[in-house]
């Protein structure tokens, strides 16, 4: 379209990388406005796994001229604030340029015993290798977690969720497909989807307290439970000490033993 209402300027990208010391830090929070996040954990105590948080990424900027855009990427500052063992990785942007600059994180690397909180407005979250607790929040984006032995909490308004963990889970998506695979022993599960599908692979159905509330159909085939239907059901096996709650506001629920899901 001929430009009768447009802005002239320049877009630039500037790679960025850095590292921060994690001595005395047991929880790291990564807070970005709009950025995907990929976190890879290495084995703590391993000689090749230093006690640091390292990252890389790209600053994106739009300015009136190329020089102006480059200056904007240099004005933004990546900081890591630590207080009482809680460290926050974020970007400091002044009001006058916060909408012209964006940091797109590449990969964040840290030891696997550091708890993680990942928070972004728009962006996929991908976590692997950690043995600690993971909390992932995104306004829009898919969330994939492998590991997180100490437990997983996921919240996404729009996006798919795929979690493979031996830990306790609390998972929710507003619109998307949710898959959970219990890779350790039997642990409590809380899963909710407003619109989409739920597929759960249980490590064990012994001593299970299973509650399903689905607007759509449910299909449960485990070692001790075999049922299909729609609406709500509750099944208890053994002493029912392991609680599994699956709620789907608009879609099917499928439950199988680990490895039985096609």
């Amino acid at each position: 379209m001929p430009c009768v209402a447009c802005v002239f300027g320049a877009k630039v990208e500037r790679p960025v990388s850095g590292s921060f010391d994690l001595s005395g830090v047991d929880t790291v929070r990564v807070e970005m406005a709009d950025s995907p996040m990929t976190v890879v954990a290495c084995s703590a105590g391993d000689a090749q796994c230093p006690r640091t948080l390292t990252f890389d990424g790209v600053f994106l900027a739009f300015g009136g001229t190329r020089r102006e855009a480059e200056n904007l990427t240099e004005r933004a500052e990546i900081v890591f604030d630590v207080a009482d063992g809680f460290g926050v990785l974020s970007v400091i942007e002044d009001l006058d340029f916060e909408e012209q600059v964006r940091l797109e994180l590449g990969e964040v690397r840290l030891p696997d015993d550091v708890d993680l909180e990942l928070d972004t407005d728009v962006g996929d979250i991908d976590v692997s290798g950690t043995r600690a607790n993971v909390r992932a929040f995104t306004g829009a984006g898919d969330v994939v977690v492998f590991g997180a032995d100490e437990g997983v909490v996921v919240r996404t308004d729009v996006g798919d969720v795929d979690v493979h963990t031996p830990g306790i889970v609390d998972l929710w998506t507003g619109d998307g497909r949710l898959h959970l695979a219990q890779t350790g022993g039997a642990r409590d599960v809380y899963v909710a989807v407003d619109r989409g599908s739920i597929a759960v692979e249980l490590a064990s159905d012994a001593n299970l307290d299973l509650f399903i509330d689905a607007r759509g159909d449910f299909d449960v085939k485990t070692d001790r439970i075999n049922t299909v239907g729609s609406g709500s059901i509750r099944r208890v096996t053994g002493n029912g000490t392991t609680r599994v709650v699956l709620e789907n506001g608009g879609g099917p629920v499928v439950v199988r033993m680990l490895g039985d899901l096609p």
């Binding site: 447009c6 009136g64 006058d96």
Partner: protein, 424 residues
């Protein structure tokens, strides 16, 4: 609007002579240039019978008489009796309903008026003719307000139409024009409004929530499609607003049966405007529509030169909580004004301040931008115009938009604006 002026017959009942000019408002010779305020002079009395006289039959509508230079001399009719107007020697234009135009020169035989201009033969009645002038009559002239007759039922019906027809257009666009006897125009307005409304709804900016979740390369909506949608929405919604407002005012003006006569001697113009531009963003989505709504107060202390306080506005971005306010000054010169159309060239500057309560980094900022603007204005009534304003601006610091978005420093920006102005 000039006050209604009723003259009594001074001679035989079948002829009416009217005093239509104020004392002392001497007209220049026809063709000698712009007449003084109040138009030219047309006077008649039995004593001035030696001058040329324009004789017209009973009139169904007001007829405007203009001198050769374009200055308005008088407005006569509607009347149930023949009208006689004494004029200075020269050439005149008679402007009637529907844009009709007749040229008449003193000394020629009375002009042949179209049937649509003529009133049917009057019933037996003593109703005096009515003449309207652009100026108040002198105190000693016949037909002062104190002698004015009560409005006739026909006049009351006419006044009723001035407000009911535009109200009908406000409810269903185009119906006012249909009621005014312009069915084609009304149908075109109705269809155009429906089309623009449909386009506005269909092109309403919508983003894919999943776009950009994987990074800047995660482009689920191509940039060209984004830009086309945003541009289409801006044009359709702006045109819809101007068309809707314009057709309401047009229904009123046509119901009055008067040609539009923009008042070039206005003192103050109050203007509501909206300007759009499409800007690039870092990341996804790659473009955004930036909108600026503001009000301006423009004065014209010297003919054609205008200056005033412009671009006054502000608001709060719901997403970020950022507040913004702005105000500026503008200087302009009217390079063209013919009939309903004015063109003005302007330059201006705007000062902004912005702030937010939370977040890291500096929370406040001041800013400003300068611009040059072309104003194309079409008058739909004597005092109200619709405008189209292409503008080139350059921010001197980050430019904030009240309802979200900003522009970087030194980024030249083409904006397209539209608005409505009321002239006082």
């Amino acid at each position: 609007m000039a006050p209604l002026h009723v003259a009594r017959a001074a001679v035989a009942p079948e002829h009416v002579e009217e005093e239509v000019a104020p004392g002392g408002a001497a007209a220049k010779a026809p063709g000698a240039g712009r007449a003084k305020k109040g138009g030219g002079r047309a006077s008649a009395s039995s004593d001035a019978a030696a001058g040329p006289v324009l004789e017209l039959p009973p009139l169904a509508h007001p007829i405007e008489i203009r001198a050769d230079g374009g200055a308005r001399v008088a407005v006569v009719g509607p009347s149930v009796r023949p009208v006689r107007v004494a004029l200075a020697p020269g050439r005149y234009e008679l402007l009637g309903p529907g844009g009709g135009r007749i040229v008449w020169e003193t000394g020629a035989s009375p002009p042949a008026l179209p049937e649509a201009w003529r009133a049917p033969p009057p019933p037996v009645s003593d109703e005096p003719a009515r003449v309207r002038s652009s100026d108040r009559p002198p105190p000693d002239s016949p037909g002062r307000d104190s002698d004015r007759a009560e409005p006739t039922p026909a006049e009351l019906a006419s006044i009723w139409r001035w407000y009911v027809f535009p109200a009908a257009s406000a409810i269903i666009p185009g119906t006012g024009q249909m009621l005014n006897g312009e069915p084609g125009k009304g149908a075109a307005i109705l269809l155009s409004t429906a089309g623009l409304l449909t386009a506005t709804i269909m092109l309403w900016p919508r983003t894919d929530p999943r776009e950009g979740t994987g990074g800047r390369a995660d482009d689920t909506i191509p940039a060209t499609q984004e830009v086309a949608r945003l541009a289409g929405f801006g044009v359709a919604s702006g045109a819809l607003g101007l068309l809707y407002a314009g057709q309401i005012l047009d229904a009123h003006q046509v119901a009055r049966g008067q040609p539009v006569r923009p008042n070039k001697d206005f003192v103050l113009r109050i203007e509501l405007a909206g300007l759009y531009t499409i800007a690039t963003r870092p990341g996804q989505p790659s473009h955004q529509l930036l909108r600026d709504f503001n009000v301006s107060f423009m004065f014209e202390p010297v003919p054609r030169f205008n200056l005033g306080f412009s671009d006054i506005g502000g608001g709060r971005d719901r997403q970020t909580g950022r507040r913004m306010s702005q105000a500026g000054v503008r200087f302009g010169y009217r390079v063209f004004d013919r009939r309903r159309t004015w063109i003005t060239l302007s330059v201006g500057g705007v000062f902004q301040s912005a702030g937010r309560d939370g977040g890291a980094g500096a929370r406040g900022a001041v800013s400003g931008f300068v611009y040059g603007q072309l104003g194309l204005r079409i008058f739909v009534t004597d005092a109200i115009s619709l405008g189209l304003f292409p503008r080139l601006s350059v921010p001197l610091a980050t430019r904030f938009y009240a309802f979200g978005g900003s522009l970087p420093r030194y980024a030249p920006t083409l904006e397209l604006g539209g608005g409505i102005g009321v002239h006082f």
